[in-house]
Amino acid sequence: MNEPETSVPAGESIPDIPTRIRTGLSAGFKTSLKIIKVSVPLYVAVTLLKETPFLNLLGKVFAPVMGIFGLPGEAAFAFVAAFLLNLYAAIAVIVPLHLTPFQVTQCGLMMGVAHNLVVEGGVLSTTGTRGGVLTLGRLVIACAAGLLLRGIWGLWETAASWAVTLPGLS
């Protein structure tokens, strides 16, 4: 979630339930506005771009890098949206691309680790002195997580296909 924190400082009295519901709803409403503002234009843009050779071309350029993680080259566009903006933006790019369940999972994992780097990098550097290191670290961790999931998913599918061939299991 990317809304600025609005809760009461520690030590202050705990708000009653109606106040908490109102706080939650208003925070949710603010997030909703942001989702619409980001997701709708991006979803439309990607759907339209799919009709042009541009997305295809971009996909070919990034295919070797994205291929490492089992993703199509076009997914690079979603990563840019995730790194600079947020996950809603990334999702708005992913859905029109019609990825497989594995590819959606892979995006969710890698982007879950590394997204909104500009804003969150700022927050991380105020908590510790090593915000820059942590932001770089997130990109590295995202890649590691991507390789890990690709490996696990591959093993899982192999195991599943073996299980099907075993008598009495299918």
Binding site: M1, N2, E3, E5, P9, A10, I14, I17, R20, I21, G24, L25, A27, G28, F29, T31, S32, I35, I36, S39, V40, L42, Y43, V44, T47, L48, E51, L87, Y88, I91, A92, V95, P96, L99, P101, F102, V104, T105, G108, L109, G112, V113, N116, V119, E120, V123, L124, T127, G128, T129, R130, G131, L134, G137, R138, I141, A145, L148, L149, I152
Partner: protein, 143 residues
């Protein structure tokens, strides 16, 4: 035009799906997070936190980050970190853990809605966070 209209509708439908998850989630969290159960939860998680080099003081900022996210939970994370005077080592370990594993409920749910595998995303993120932070805690010994 025959492309634009369905595209617009598709974008709105996707936004609606995301909003239907986010609004109840944020509201529920806001209602639940002041419950005494969560304030006492520190006792239960303390031994687990020691494994990744963190002390009791880091409980609130850590769990705020795990459930709320870094940007949304920033206020709480920064304030508590300063109030408790968390040492640089703990701040770094907490940051490392949160970098890998934050805002997990929301992040996972919105990808499940579009066809992702939730347990896989959550499992790898949590596992990797514990592994990396635990490793770093052993590399960077407390002073």
């Amino acid at each position: 035009m025959e492309i634009l209209l369905p595209a617009l509708l598709g974008g709105l439908k996707l936004s609606a799906k995301l909003i239907l998850i986010i609004v109840p989630l944020v509201t529920l969290f806001e209602v639940l997070r002041h419950l005494p159960v969560f304030r006492r939860a520190g006792n239960v998680v303390e031994p687990m936190m020691r494994g990744v080099g963190l002390t009791r003081d880091a409980t609130i900022p850590l769990f705020t980050g795990i459930f709320l996210g870094i940007a949304y939970g920033a206020g709480i994370i920064i304030r508590v970190a300063q109030q408790k005077g968390l040492p640089a080592r703990e701040l770094f370990l907490m940051g490392l853990f949160l970098a890998t594993c934050h805002s997990v409920i929301e992040d996972v749910l919105i990808f499940v809605v579009i066809g992702g595998n939730g347990p896989a995303i959550l499992g790898v993120r949590l596992g990797l966070a514990v592994l990396l932070t635990g490793l770093m805690a052993r590399v960077w010994k407390p002073a």
